[in-house]
Amino acid sequence: MSQPPPPLDPHDSSLGETLGSLFRKALEGYQGAKTTGLDAIDEFVSARMGEEFNARLDRVPTTFGEGSTDPFGLDREWVKYAIASVAVLHRHYFRTEVFGAENVPKGRVLLIANHSGQIPIDGALIGAAMFMDVEPPRFCRAMVEKFTQTLPFVSLLFSRVGQVVGVPENARPLLRREEALLVFPEGVKGISKPFDRRYRLADFGLGFMRLAMETDTPIVPVAVVGGEEQYISVKNMDGLAKFLRVPSLPLLPQLLLPGGALPLPTKYRISFGEPMTFQGDPDDDDAVIAEKVETVRATIQTMVNRGVRERKSIFF
């Protein structure tokens, strides 16, 4: 701080210096708080989840060698804290029941799931299940909508916990490295379903099927039940969404209630189906690919229907 400013751009430096020193003071206080915060989480993780949690962390396969941040932006420290916080939701808030964890193969895999719940809690819980219930524990990466990259903090968090923008150029190298990728082929249409369309799967994109065929990756269908009731959406305000340039804007009456911003504590049921493999030309006509995609969609729809039918209650 005491060093003379660099010779170039004296304007930038002098202006910045005043602002900077002010800011640094604020930052020192913040950083102190952050360190104690992280320590507290560390303590909590060891106390609550026991040694098993840390042991599982050590067993997660590394794809990109050492180094704290991999080329796709995944930072193991961030993932640790993210999973620790989601694990609390997973075990205690949503009390997720996981079925068929043994169906997830060891190597590369595309997890194809139904999307629901207005905000992607389903993705986080599948991620937690892949770490806590699947053997060996995995960090699974979700393919996310490019819109999320324009949001401050969200883009940062998503990148550090291993999410990647949903383009095939990103998926190929990751699958080649035997990673687990989570795809919601319904996209925004899926997550923002109004309540009267709950558990009725929207149309699937075709990209994942081409990818699976090209890279010879098994597809594991995943059905998530419980997400549709966490936020009850009366309708989507498409006009307003367009105006605000956001992908969707659900009308959620529960936001008016005290504490209504929290999702309702529904019980999540996540089931992993048996792996499906598809052969053929990945560059085939849409019609041919769509047929194969339809098999996957139908499988997931059946699994979802069974899940909805068999649960005794939304909350228990």
Binding site: M1, P5, P6, L8, D9, H11, D12, S13, L15, G16, E17, L19, G20, F23, R24, G67, T69, P71, F72, G73, D75, K146, F147, Q149, T150, L151, P152, F153, V154, S155, L156, S159, R160, V164, V165, V167, E169, N170, P173
Partner: protein, 316 residues
């Protein structure tokens, strides 16, 4: 003007923009192996005695005399103007018209090798960029930042030259952020005190040492090498870690505020960074350099710490 010096393995190499810092570094690496003829409208202060310097504007007819005077074995084009303060007409005349002239002479005098230094910035930072762009990705850099359109045009001109003149080996290099004593935006950015960052954004970035760029140019000059190559240095890191390694304090500002402020500062001539460049510290623009490694045989020699700390280095 004629070269009495003993014949050198690489013959006579014409280097445009030789008086820039990168040009001087290239000359230092090249002049033992080649007879270097430098072209620049600026004077070449401490030029090695065996280097010929022609102080000409590449748009002038006089450029042709340089080609007439001696057989040229290779052209290295570094003389791209990127001064966002200069007018669009000046930019266009210099970068596009001047370069087109140079290519015209290269064809007329049958120069066997042309190496053009483009930049990975021609791809442009976008929210839907794949984490690593390969050489076939579209050049969208001008979409949000009009001032670099002529740099894209230079790249395109070189590409069409590549196809039209198969007898010339044309190499287009697209290096990531070049760091060092050079006065380019990324190096200047890391020399700010404090360094501006965008609140909630921390994209992964790739950097390369200026000497590694010079080395990549030498690789491109080898006989038999042709094509377009992304050039990258050490593994990517989060922007925040890069700034930390340089040892600069940071100041995080929300994007909208930063954009508005920078626009105002820019119009008051208080900063050398135009507002659209903020996208570089917001979105990823990273490249896949597999082709350069495999075909050019290029390997970077400077690790991340050296590369980053080199921006503060006074010696050059």
């Amino acid at each position: 003007m004629t070269n009495e010096s003993p014949s050198r393995p690489r013959g006579t190499v014409l280097v445009t923009g030789v008086c820039g810092r990168l040009g001087k570094r290239l000359v230092r690496a090249l002049h033992k192996e080649a007879n270097v003829v430098g072209i620049d409208r600026r004077p070449f202060a401490d030029r090695p005695s065996d280097v010929v310097h022609e102080q000409v504007d590449i748009r002038r007819k006089k450029l042709k005399d340089v080609f007439r005077a001696q057989p040229i074995d290779a052209i290295v084009h570094l003389g791209v103007m990127h001064d966002p303060r200069a007018s669009a007409t000046e930019h266009h005349a210099w970068n596009v018209v001047g370069f087109a002239k140079l290519l015209e002479y290269a064809a007329q005098f049958k120069v066997p090798k042309v190496v053009v230094l483009s930049s990975a910035n021609v791809y442009g930072p976008q929210p839907d960029n794949p984490q690593f762009l390969n050489e076939d990705a579209p050049l969208l850099g001008g979409a949000r930042f009009g001032e670099i359109r002529d740099l894209i045009e230079v790249d395109m001109l070189a590409q069409s030259f590549f196809w039209k003149h198969p007898e010339t080996e044309t190499v287009i290099l697209r290096p990531v952020h070049i760091l060092g004593t050079v006065r380019n935006a990324p190096s200047n950015f890391l020399r700010l005190d404090p360094v501006l960052t965008l609140l909630g954004f921390d994209p992964m970035i790739q950097v390369i040492h200026e000497d590694d760029v010079a080395h990549a140019i030498l690789c491109a000059l080898d006989r038999g090498k042709r094509g377009i190559f992304n050039v990258a240095g050490p593994d990517p890191v989060p922007l925040s870690r890069a700034i930390k390694t340089v040892g600069r304090p940071t100041i995080a500002v929300p994007y909208t505020l930063a954009k508005a402020t920078l626009k105002r500062l820019w119009s008051l001539r208080l900063t050398s960074f135009p507002a659209p460049e903020l996208d570089h510290i917001r979105y990823v623009c990273m490249v896949d350099d597999t082709r350069a490694k495999e075909t050019l045989g290029f390997r970077h020699a400077h690790n991340l710490e050296e590369t980053l700390q080199h921006v503060l280095s006074e010696e050059w």
